[in-house]
Symmetry: C2
Subunit: 457 residues, 2 copies
């Protein structure tokens, strides 16, 4: 069958939900990143799993690439159609199908966004914890093994997905797990598809785990003289079992940007933003222990609140961080890095990175999820200035290599896509071949998001 | 190369650590279960990863099966050499290599047992949480995705392994992960090998996650009129976010056996055994909330303690449960079932199972990890009595099918081995083929523990 024939078949089947308009193609050819646009040849909007099975069967027969698409907030070129093919846009599969408080779970279509999900949960006493910066879709978050500020307590997507429905390359539809809390029945297919970036199949349904809303939430901020002091405090806090739910780090440059953007006057020092999830009775004691651990390492300018309005303001600060940093350098765009190292190496990783950034001549405030050893430098560049772009890419590459050298990973939460693929051999050695073997076994024609995670001719 | 040649090569290489003595072979041909002995053709005792690589390379060339062996406490025939081959006994690879409190982890060889590990951790303020009944090796526990009484709070082996070193079928040695707390760098190989029962490779090193010892531990017991009451209470407790660390269920028959074995006088009613891990300040409030949730559903005869001696006694009761039940029927052996269902289906699953057991005419007390929806019937049979054996196997099969029908799994924590393999198609559908594809990709000659999890000719 020729590609033309295949397209004709799909067009006839999907009618208005099949698009080859130039705008549509270009909009789906990139995501929030500095990568050039690689537009797909067509965009299709499935409504059901059966639609997805239909698409995959047709593409499988014609060996046409298939790229899943949520809302395009990924950062490493995950949605670029580098070998052309069909973009499967899940925006019309956006229903929460079931909220099941008794089993502490919800089942939903992949196009549901995290904010939408929490909105629908608002009367249940439960919440979904994973909160990457963007209001991403759950399908995208599952596919990149996303995490966020609460992962230090509640885990990443790996820990918060109960089960997936996936259409694999041969058109079969599988359920990776049941609703039982644990299982020892064979290989862990759920984990295999989480973080596979659509290279092994298309996720068509997700059952996520939910958590009870804590009785009392305390949010706050504390300043330190050096990064190492902050990191040391974090280690003690972890060790003491204080119920930390969020633990974010800002370097001096980020604090400057925050101050300017939100008209604040935080001291220009490294800061921790934190949140504790306590029972009412223990909240006072928890904050006391937290404070005392910070004081040990010179923590000052300690402010906190249990009032919802004030807490929200504080976290808005963090969630607006990216925009505050962008606003600090008008006209620039950002290359966002994402390394994660063992807790004990975090101080070293941050200070080496700061030195590299200074040397490079570009601006690059640092913030991150310090409780997980994960941080981002927001490298600010003029995309037209090749010198700057080159310098930023060089810093990003150095960071990835530094993370691997310190026994960590080139990406904590953004994924590999095409942006990090050149670090896979270095980080995984023969393990990358094992991934390649799995890819080949499940997708012999390499039609599932080709060119991401795995390199194949 | 003939098998004789291969054996000669290995014998020369391993000297005294190569055995074909009849006793050794028979001892390694079964584990703690009712399966008949399937002895391997030889047993080898590696000391290092390099030894394991050597063994695998030689066996790969000659297409000889390799079966990993810890201390033989698995329950589904995992270590049976049903196609002959070489048993790799890890008892001499039993060193804790590193305790790393700052990264809350420990790295160890696969022959380390869980009690040994916690003994070595005794001065660290940290503990390793997963506690199956047996004093199993960590290699075995990783391979069966084991769990235990604390999994309701701290998770199973899936949540408590940071990274694995694995020798795969082609002799390559890979590390599945780094020590960074999270990573989005490609497929989750760690999860793939956890629960793979040695069918994809041999685990040669494990980095586990550790937890801080809680400030205050409260253990106790409470009786209910019916199973459903207990299950309802458990649901409320989970929902309220009470810091439950253990939550075990005993039915009337188990309580009878416990009373007789330990000279107790618990009321002959369904019971919950529980443990809360609290901060000192919140402990009183936690136990109050727990008690009130139980009272809502008629919980009575509530006893608890925070004293270490009394707590240990209580959990000894639970950990001796299997032997108490065996002692209740002298001369009998046990077939231990292991199903796990969604929390909301637990009451139904237990009462249907009890009815089936009564109908079968054999004795079968029930106990389990009610916080996870996982329970075991200990079916007591005279192994020489074919009628009884048949009845027990029929109850076990009905339970597995019941679990699948209720949206659960045929095994919560014991694994598939050869004992549950006939339920895989029913539970996973095409997902089982996907597992088969992965197996074939990573082990094309089917030398890694053949006949377990996957069926292949």
């Amino acid at each position: 069958m020729t590609i033309q024939n295949t397209f004709e078949i799909l067009k006839n089947h999907f009618g208005e939900r099949w698009s080859t308009s130039q705008t549509d193609l270009e909009n789906h050819g990139h995501s929030e990143s500095y990568f050039p646009t690689h537009a797909p040849d067509a965009v299709v909007y499935p409504l059901t799993t059966a639609d997805v099975v239909y698409i995959v069967n047709v593409c499988h027969q014609s060996k046409i690439p298939i790229i899943g698409y949520g809302v395009g907030t990924s950062l490493e070129g995950h949605t670029s159609a580098i070998h052309g093919g069909i973009c499967v846009d899940f925006s019309k599969m956006n229903k929460v199908l079931e909220i099941d408080p008794s089993n502490m779970s919800a089942t939903l279509e992949p196009g549901v966004t995290r904010e939408q999900l929490n909105h629908e949960l608002r009367h249940s006493g439960l919440f979904f914890s994973v909160d990457p910066g963007a209001n991403a879709t759950l399908g995208g978050m599952a596919s990149t093994r996303a995490s966020g500020t609460t992962s230090v307590r509640y885990g990443t997507m790996r820990e918060n997905i109960q089960s997936l429905e996936v259409v694999i390359a041969n058109g079969e539809c599988i359920n990776t797990n049941t609703k039982a809390k644990k299982s020892a029945a064979g290989y862990d297919l759920t984990s295999l598809f989480i973080g596979a970036e659509g290279t092994l199949g298309l996720i068509t349904k997700i059952t996520v785990k939910l958590h009870p809303i804590p009785e009392l939430i305390t949010s706050g901020v504390v300043a330190f003289d050096t990064i190492n002091d902050a990191v040391q405090a974090v280690q003690d806090i972890t060790y003491m079992g204080i119920p930390i739910a969020r633990l974010e780090f800002l370097d001096e440059k980020s604090v400057e940007a925050f101050n300017a953007y939100s008209n604040l006057s935080l001291p220009v020092k490294p800061h921790l933003l934190f949140e504790l999830h306590s029972s009412e009775i223990s909240a006072n004691e928890d904050i006391k222990s937290f404070k005392s651990a910070c004081s040990e390492y010179g923590g000052i300018d300690f402010k906190w609140s249990t009032k919802e309005e004030e807490r929200k303001e504080l976290w808005a600060l963090r969630h607006k961080g990216y925009y505050a940093i962008l606003a600090s350098a008008p006209g620039k765009r950002a290359i966002v890095t994402d390394i994660c190292v063992p807790q004990t190496k975090l101080g070293e990783a941050v200070s080496e990175t700061q030195k590299d950034i200074v040397k490079s001549g570009i601006a690059g405030p640092i913030l991150g999820h310090v409780g997980d050893g994960n941080f981002h430098a927001i490298l600010l560049v003029d995309p037209e200035n090749h010198q700057e772009l080159k310098a930023a890419k060089s810093v990003a590459a150095k960071m990835a290599k530094l993370a691997i050298r310190l026994g960590g990973t080139c990406t904590g939460e953004h994924g590999i896509g095409m942006g990090k693929i050149d670090f896979m051999a270095d980080q995984h050695g023969h393990g990358w071949n094992v991934m390649g073997n799995i890819k080949e076994a499940l997708d012999p024609y390499n039609i599932m998001n080709p060119g991401k995670i795995i390199k194949r001719n």
